[in-house]
């Protein structure tokens, strides 16, 4: 294969040769980049399921290059060039010669830019500062220091040890004391703090840097990097470090640095200093001699970073949402709203979690017998540390009468009960209550689900989706439904009181996710108009049961699209 690769690259104009490197024969390619002759060594062996690596020979002769890491290959130092994220490419493993050629082109292109454009090279070095920093960390210490830090300001915080014998989870990490008290009362972090399960390990000092230099290339350079960095601190910062934090002595310091890399991106990284006897924080080379330095991985564990990294939206943190009905659909909505960053959720459901619920609900079996809303509140607060979910066992109308609905940014109703939902809408109309409402429900046998967003300042309301499409009167069933009314949909295993509509967890989850998406878009201000949305599933099971479907089902081609809700025959909307 090596010969075939050599022949192919040669045919493409590359100067190739084969050399023995250690016990193996390797292909070497000479290329001219930015007026310099560079030798690249094919370091990967076929088959190629990732882009093959070309190692840069004599890496130190080119200065510090971005995206190049020095590594020992067969007892010689080479530069390992990172040309892509491994998962972002689909490799044509059936055509290895083309793969090698493409990889070589990418290596040449990247190195060419690093060598020809020093400013770009410097910016790239800063951009990948944290990646380089991680390479300095001991492989045995990959569990990052968790830091609940919001703002880059000079400050001293406590560092807590992991909970004893904890092998996994957040409790297994060193933790810089949270600077806020916004954690849920029952999150792991908060509980471990208040229970006293974590011992204080020492103190952390957060030092914002105004100017960042590239990360050291090896652990041996760490001390010099530290001294250089401390010496470039502004006088005000150095003075404060000496006069405020320098008065205190310890055998260990966690220094948490933060700086802007490029394009206003901020990075955080940590260094641990340890000493055999208690000393003040060393700020000069002479003071540093008795200290050992260790680069540490760090993971910001603040709301901003964690929510955004998970795809959530910070602007939702202050929104207030009520989810009424936390059955199989409502629980999905509550979960996805929490995951999106909504902290204040009012969970409302009079039902108790039952064995019957297990296979289409997110709650664990340990909650059987508990109020659904309470159980879901605990589950949400346990998963989402900043959740402020609350619960009540009211039904829809009691909740409506007992609370000021206008305090909510959105009311989500997922009870699957058209009578109660219309009653609630009429209550809002009668009481002139101005609040956005999202109603959602699914239909049995996996045929689909629906959601209606009723924004009182725009055309269209829940009753529009109940207008009889034949007569224009107020109907009793939604005109969005896919199943014709007045058919036997309820199944019964154990007689009265045990009847249920047949649908699976996938259907309820799909409906919940669809409704949650709509709710999130509304809360973000991206969907300000009343609208309706449906998803359409297979008709197979319904037809097998002899269930008749609506014209809308057979003609519906707009799954998950937001459609106008207003119906000109809606009496409630024509008042406006």
């Amino acid at each position: 294969m090596l010969k075939a690769i050599e022949q192919h690259l040669t045919s493409q104009g590359y100067a190739c040769s084969r050399h023995n490197l250690g016990s193996r024969e390797r292909l070497s390619v000479e290329v001219a980049i930015a007026d310099r002759n560079i030798r690249l060594l094919l370091a990967s062996d076929p088959p190629f399921y990732e882009l093959p690596i070309f190692a840069l020979a004599d890496p130190h002769s080119y200065g510090r290059l971005a995206h190049v890491t020095i590594a020992d290959v067969e007892e010689s130092l080479y530069g390992v060039v990172c040309v892509n994220a491994p998962d972002s490419l689909s490799i044509n493993f059936e055509q290895p010669l083309l793969v090698v050629e493409e990889s070589l082109k990418r290596h040449v292109s990247l190195l060419g830019r690093c060598l020809a454009d020093p400013e770009w090279n410097r910016r790239e070095l800063l951009r990948e500062f944290y990646s380089d920093w991680l390479r300095l960390c001991r492989s045995s210490n990959r569990r990052p220091l968790l830091a609940n830090l919001e703002k880059p300001k000079l400050q001293k915080l406590s560092v807590y040890r992991p909970v004893k014998d904890s092998k996994q989870g957040i409790e297994s990490h060193y933790m810089v004391h949270p600077s806020d008290n916004s954690f849920s009362d029952i999150s792991d972090i908060y509980l471990s703090m208040v229970k006293g399960n974590r011992q204080i390990a020492g103190q952390a000092i957060v030092i914002p840097l105004e100017e960042l230099t590239p990360a050291p290339t090896c652990s041996g350079s760490l001390e010099q990097w530290y001294i250089d960095t401390m010496e470039t601190l502004p006088v005000k910062t150095r003075t404060e470090l000496q006069q405020v934090f320098g008065q205190w002595r310890g055998v260990a310091y966690w220094i948490v640095f933060t700086a802007i890399t490029v394009d206003d991106d901020r990075t955080w990284f940590a260094l641990k200093l340890t000493c055999k006897s208690k000393k003040a924080l060393p700020l000069s080379k002479s003071k540093l001699q008795s200290w050992t330095l260790e680069a540490l991985p760090i993971r910001l564990f603040n709301q901003e970073n964690t929510v955004q990294r998970g795809g959530g939206c910070l602007s939702l943190a202050d929104k207030k949402v009520a989810v009424i009905g936390v059955g199989s659909v409502g629980c999905e909505i509550a979960h996805k709203l929490s995951a999106a960053g909504v902290r204040s959720l009012a969970l409302v459901d009079p039902d108790v979690y039952e064995i019957n619920n297990l296979y289409r609900h997110v709650l664990e079996q340990g909650w059987v017998g508990a109020p659904k809303a309470f159980a879901l509140m605990v589950a949400l607060q346990r998963q989402f540390p900043w959740s402020r979910a609350r619960w009540t066992s009211d039904d829809l109308m009691k909740f409506a009468r007992d609370v000021n609905l206008e305090n909510f940014d959105l009311i989500v109703i997922a009870i699957g009960n058209p009578t109660q939902e219309r009653l609630f809408k009429q209550y809002l109309l009668n009481e002139n209550i101005d609040v956005a409402v999202l109603n959602t429900w699914l239909e049995g046998l996996g045929v689909g689900g629906h959601a209606v967003l009723d924004v009182s300042s725009s055309k269209g309301c829940l009753l529009c989706s109940y207008v009889c499409q034949e007569s224009g009167t107020r109907g009793l069933v939604s005109n969005m439904n896919f199943i014709e009314p007045n058919q036997v949909m309820m199944k019964s295993i154990a007689g009265c009181g045990e009847q249920f509509i047949s649908y699976g967890a996938a259907s309820s989850a799909q409906t919940g996710v669809m409704a949650a998406n709509l709710a999130i878009r509304f809360l973000e201000g991206k969907q300000s108009q009343s609208c309706k949305v449906s998803w359409k599933g297979s008709v197979e099971d319904a037809e097998a049961e002899g269930i008749k479907m609506t014209h809308r089902y057979y003609n519906f081609q707009h799954s998950l699209e937001y459609l106008p809700l207003f119906d000109e025959d809606c009496d409630a909307c024509s008042y406006e």
């Binding site: 699914l442 034949e470 809308r552 000109e568």
Partner: protein, 343 residues
């Protein structure tokens, strides 16, 4: 308020069902006449084994006539083994009952016995069938018919009703589409009653209109399920005119032919004149043109004005345009409806 809502209100005004208050007197008379027929037939040795409604009361396509009487279309059935060979014998029994009850103009027509009630706007048609298994035969013949014209004629009244009420060919919301078809029949029948003189109007048989409408029915429900009777009526009329119901007779005249889809498969308009066919053809064409005008018109008020020209005063014209006319909430007429909704 939408135009469909206007159609719905118009339909509510013109529809006539057996259980309607307006039909109460007719229903009472029908029931009591049926009781007397049963007695008369039993005493004569031809016990009635079945009876059923025919016509628009059975197919839910009845309309209130602006001027004329209410109709009763009643069928009585006797067993073949008890039936007399001469069908006019049993028709005479019907005539006897009707005359005894004081009906005026009671007479034996070829397919039925017909009469008008003296004190009520009530017209009654009674037909007699003999039944052998699933096979029905209609008693045909007048009092003075010779033997050749007196016969038990194969007929399939129940399958005809089934054909008209069948919704199996509609995919999705089949019941809704069948109801739209029935409304269209009522609209067309009301249009007939408005647009034809009384003499010709009686010759534009309801069953003929119903069968044309059934076979060429073009439902109109948009993808969101919104029903549109105007579009359905327009498309159905267009399809009727494009079909082969109207046979050109030269000189701008037409003969209309509509065949029963069941035994005896006869032409409903077999004995109709060219004048009837021509008038029907031309008036349908004019209706189509008017409906196209309505479809192109934006103003609800103007739309309703044109439709009132077609259907008469029962199709109301709003005083203002579409906004704010329906301050009064219109509720569903159903007390409870089963739904498929859950969460």
């Amino acid at each position: 308020m939408s135009l469909q809502n206007r159609f719905s209100k118009f339909h509510d005004r013109i529809k006539l069902g057996r259980e309607d208050d307006a039909y109460r007197d007719a229903r009472v008379k029908d029931n009591s006449i049926l009781d007397e027929l049963k007695t008369e037939f039993r005493l004569a040795g031809y016990p009635i084994v079945d009876s059923f409604l025919q016509g628009s009361m059975k197919t839910d396509t009845g309309v209130k006539h602006p001027i004329d009487d209410f109709d009763i279309d009643r069928a009585v059935v006797i067993d073949e083994e008890n039936a007399p060979d001469d069908p006019v014998v049993v028709k005479k029994l019907v005539l006897k009952v009707l005359e005894k009850r004081g009906f005026k103009n009671a007479k034996v027509k070829k397919p039925c016995v017909t009469a008008d009630y003296i004190n009520l706007n009530l017209h009654i048609d009674i037909v007699v069938y003999r039944r052998r298994g699933e096979q029905y035969e209609l008693a045909v013949g007048k009092l003075n018919s010779n033997e050749e014209n007196r016969q038990w004629s194969p007929s399939d009244p129940k399958r005809l009703i089934e054909h008209i009420k069948d919704s199996s060919q509609y995919v999705g919301s089949a019941d809704l589409k069948l109801k739209q078809f029935k409304r269209l029949v009522r609209y067309i029948k009301r249009w007939r009653d408005e647009k034809f003189g009384q003499y010709v109007g009686k010759k534009v048989f309801s069953i003929g209109l119903t069968l044309m409408c059934k076979d060429k029915f073009r439902p109109s429900i948009d993808d969101e399920g919104k029903v549109n009777d105007l579009q359905a009526l327009r498309d159905t009329i267009s399809a009727i005119l494009s079909a082969n119901y109207f046979q050109y007779a030269g000189d701008g005249k037409y003969k209309v032919n509509v065949f029963l889809p069941v035994e005896p498969y006869r032409n409903v308009f077999e004995n109709s004149s060219v004048d009837t066919g021509t008038q029907l053809y031309n008036k349908l064409r004019r209706m189509l043109a008017k409906l196209d005008t309505v479809l192109e018109e934006d103003s609800l008020k103007k739309q309703c004005e044109v439709l009132q020209e077609l259907f008469g005063d029962d199709f109301e014209v709003p005083e203002t345009e579409r906004l704010n006319e329906n301050q009064k909430v219109a509720f569903s007429t159903a007390g409870v409806v089963g739904t498929s909704q859950g969460a």
